[in-house]
Symmetry: D3
Subunit: 135 residues, 6 copies
Amino acid sequence: MVYVTRRETFNAAHRLYLPHLSDEENFRTFGKCSNPNWHGHNYILEVTVAGEINFDTGFVINLKDLKEIIRKYIIEEVDHKNLNLETSFMKGLIPTTENVAVAVWKQLSEKLPNGKLYSVKLSETENNFFEYRGE
Amino acid sequence: MVYVTRRETFNAAHRLYLPHLSDEENFRTFGKCSNPNWHGHNYILEVTVAGEINFDTGFVINLKDLKEIIRKYIIEEVDHKNLNLETSFMKGLIPTTENVAVAVWKQLSEKLPNGKLYSVKLSETENNFFEYRGE
Amino acid sequence: MVYVTRRETFNAAHRLYLPHLSDEENFRTFGKCSNPNWHGHNYILEVTVAGEINFDTGFVINLKDLKEIIRKYIIEEVDHKNLNLETSFMKGLIPTTENVAVAVWKQLSEKLPNGKLYSVKLSETENNFFEYRGE
Amino acid sequence: MVYVTRRETFNAAHRLYLPHLSDEENFRTFGKCSNPNWHGHNYILEVTVAGEINFDTGFVINLKDLKEIIRKYIIEEVDHKNLNLETSFMKGLIPTTENVAVAVWKQLSEKLPNGKLYSVKLSETENNFFEYRGE
Amino acid sequence: MVYVTRRETFNAAHRLYLPHLSDEENFRTFGKCSNPNWHGHNYILEVTVAGEINFDTGFVINLKDLKEIIRKYIIEEVDHKNLNLETSFMKGLIPTTENVAVAVWKQLSEKLPNGKLYSVKLSETENNFFEYRGE
Amino acid sequence: MVYVTRRETFNAAHRLYLPHLSDEENFRTFGKCSNPNWHGHNYILEVTVAGEINFDTGFVINLKDLKEIIRKYIIEEVDHKNLNLETSFMKGLIPTTENVAVAVWKQLSEKLPNGKLYSVKLSETENNFFEYRGE
């Protein structure tokens, strides 16, 4: 069993808030991240797949395929996008990085060979990281 | 003459567009960066001050002072903000990173001891950097 | 279950030695790290908390709270300090990074909601990392 | 139980191909990595050892010893080498980074105290990482 | 005048040697880099263009154009290639990183608007960097 | 003319203070850096040499030689040392990073071929950098 990780990046805008709260109440919960005029990040996404090495190729997965799956189903939906307004798989969710990581997992686990996805890690800033392993 | 650099970071939303152009025309010039729903970045700001070493302190500038000036006059205006809508010193300017770097220079050069500011460097992504030296 | 990590940094002096050994004997065990005149590091601390996402906020933990706990109970005790002489929670311990990581865990596990702390990771240099998970 | 990681780097050439396939067939499986004229990488190797802290030294393992073992048995065999032609422990294996990680594990597990080796992580590029934990 | 930098990466094999010298003589001059079986690197290329900001776009240069020029005229020629055998613009040159940097400059200066190219910086490893400014 | 940079690291303790001032007065000038019990850093040193490429070797300078000069005359004097008490070339100087950078320049300029040294850059933390070019 080898763990294979592909790193991709994307730039997006978001806002953390609950629509039934006032701006002041949202600020109390979400701080500066609730700014009604949005802010944004350079997100770093690390997708880890686990599996046995294929004897014929020496690969667990062809990283070219993994890269294309991530770009087609995730990056296309988030890069240079507004996570609140435009990302189909974030509909109805507060775009905290926790929620984005879980949503990315759900998207990818359907597209990758069964049982292969091991971890989705998302860095929001150089100081804040979030990881989901399907637990 | 020693060059002293302080690095700070901020997260902001922006959109590159010209108001008199259609969305299609803006897309032709600015690509994905013209998304009407905004996107954002983790900007890295590096401010370099140049000067002689003060014999009594061994400092060119007290970095605590430099940090406070950058935070008060720049970071407060841009962090978790929308550069198009909220940053006072970007009014009327397209928030390309080139324009932000020059505007940061103008702000800081008034607040720092005369002639000390040497360079303002701004990284928009891990692949795109912009530097202005007042030339 | 999502793993949420906050990264903080601190700069400290330390010395690895046993008081009942001579300088030569300490050098044989601890090498250059036993220098009686001290040396120091820029430590990087990564604290990981694990838990379920709160449906109302989309957070596992409010990172602002986690940051404040780390800064109040750890960074205040170690930043610009001598780990042998000044850090209360290192009293009587050799300040190897292994021991610092375990001591940080003990401090934080009392201050964080029960069962939430998952990992304390500490980088001493760009080549040496240490992680404790309470096992 | 503390996890102690040592990071080392090496620069090597390699080619991914199967000798019984034509260049065209190899290109279909391995892409640009099958170039018959070789290409290369700055590999980053992270070796993690897990164990209890020795009460007398505060160490899980003396990192000086771990560094010397990694350099003697791994780095000497791969640095500024051709992984297909010159690395003894890669004989008969396609030098995918998966296979290199497993082979490094086998080499190191014989040289380290029994049961101590926890993980071998190898970065091929800034976007592709591979980890083997002996599972 | 703003300095705009685009960062790209490529992976290549090379060997430093003079064909009229023996392997022993080449080793004396070039050390491990003279290995007849090749070795390789993950090179990081930073291309800096300098110019005035276009008032209409806020750009010195459209980074999309700069990226495409670098990829078409440089990356295509070096990525997953052998710099001694396959890179057209390195013909007859020892592929030291100094020589590669100057050759990249020559290639790019013909493709970029006159007088815009300011610097070509090439990192061979995390410890060795080379910069050419056309001087 | 090509600029060639070698990066080295070292770990040291230091304290910023003036012996004729009280601890309180030193704290007012130097803040936490005046701690009488010392603190320390992982310094990153980047030495840049500028010169023409030697046609026979493709080198401006053999980086193996540059590395050895830096290690012999600088790293030996500062690594795992106390910059106030043990570094011969810092005698009588406050070990601000400005002063260390200038002192490193003076040491190296005597050991390197005449006129070749272009810059000494020293990072004290990931946010504070200092550069001296002999001006």
